[in-house]
Point group: C2
Chain length 228, copies 2
């Protein structure tokens, strides 16, 4: 039983679109070729091969040829369509980070506890985060790239503000899951004091305590995103 050749997929799709599932449709190899961006000769060969392999039936009436798709042909197309559709849908809708917990520098805690931020956390996240950030050193280049991916997705925006001394940048929040179970919020900062390979997380409670993780532990963070 010969497999359906990939290059025949579009040809079958075109015939299907022309209504060749249940009725013989009369179509010239020239127009079929145009539809699939191939030559008349290629279309003719496609039909011959599709017929040989049992995906279509053909019927000559003089010069013209009518074509109909067989049940086998239809089944095969449905199969391929399903494969494509499910592979598109099955794509997980999260960005994943993997790395190891590193000791925070205390800085994050200081900034995140400022009244200008806390007020917004309370209203936009629904709580005031535990004073302190969990810092994760990313394991690989691809996770650093993933950070850039995140930038293209919307997050919860915490606006910057000023006090007497200086201005403080915005903070973007991405609700996420640690090790697929604990809720936390990955934050990206307008003005970061880390290099690219470290990400910071905040949470309602002390993350290390709740997850029983400590400095050096391997950790996975998943940020759900809306698939487009």
């Amino acid at each position: 039983m010969p497999e359906l050749k990939v290059q025949h997929i579009l040809t079958l799709a075109e015939l299907l679109a022309k209504g060749a599932r249940h009725n013989f449709v009369t179509i010239t190899t020239l127009s079929l070729g145009k539809s699939i961006n191939k030559s008349q000769q290629a279309a003719s060969k496609h039909l011959l091969e599709l017929e040989r392999d049992g995906y279509v039936e053909r019927m000559r009436s003089g010069q013209r040829v009518s074509v109909r798709i067989t049940t086998k042909g239809h089944t095969e197309m449905a199969r391929i369509s399903t494969i494509l559709k499910s592979s598109l849908e099955s794509s997980p809708s999260y960005v994943e980070f993997k790395g190891t917990i590193v000791s925070g520098m205390g800085e994050g805690a200081y900034y995140m506890s400022m009244k200008g931020y806390e007020k917004q956390f309370k209203s936009k996240l629904g709580y005031i985060p535990f004073p302190g950030t969990l810092n994760v050193k990313l394991k690989d280049k691809e996770f650093i790239e993933a950070k850039r991916t995140l930038d293209t997705h919307p997050g919860i925006m915490i606006n910057g503000f000023s006090d007497d001394k200086r201005t403080y940048g915005w903070v973007k929040c991405y609700p996420s899951k640690i090790n697929n179970s604990t809720d936390a919020v990955l934050i990206t900062l307008e003005r970061t004091h880390h290099d690219d390979s470290v990400i910071e997380l905040i949470s309602k409670e002390n993350i290390k305590k709740i997850t029983k993780l400590s400095t050096g532990s391997q950790i996975s963070i998943r940020v759900p995103i809306r698939s487009k």
Copy 2:
């Protein structure tokens, strides 16, 4: 802007299934090759070309390579999936017959008016048909073939019966539309008195009168069927 090559479709689908939409996934060209039923070398080339054409991004970490599908790649796959899906769905769910009206031989009328049939018509179709059948001479070989197609689909079964003299065969009814507007019922008989190229229709009223068609008129009959 190079088009996505057909042979790359399955490769992209495989990457999609592996979750490479939002995250870089580490996959060896050997295993990728196996998944798409190609060699390691083919898989490697696919990835190189997909990258060259902007459908995936790659990232080397030493020997291994991580792959992620770009927005362009995802869009393209979605496009193809939609084309296939809609071509499968758009396929009209009817079998069509075209031909010319020929004068009935009166026989049909006689048989169809028998009490053994009439009782069943009344209960299964909801009415007693006009006494007389519309005979249509099919125009082309493909419509004769379409009759065979119809046989594989279920219709409303009118059982045969016997009287003192003889037995009468079953009649299978397919509700249909004449010229896409008038309701009628195409019937196939266990024992037909026509050759293959003629079909018969019955209806509540006199079809010729209602449609203002007469012997010699071109006519189209569509029999809706359940697509499988």
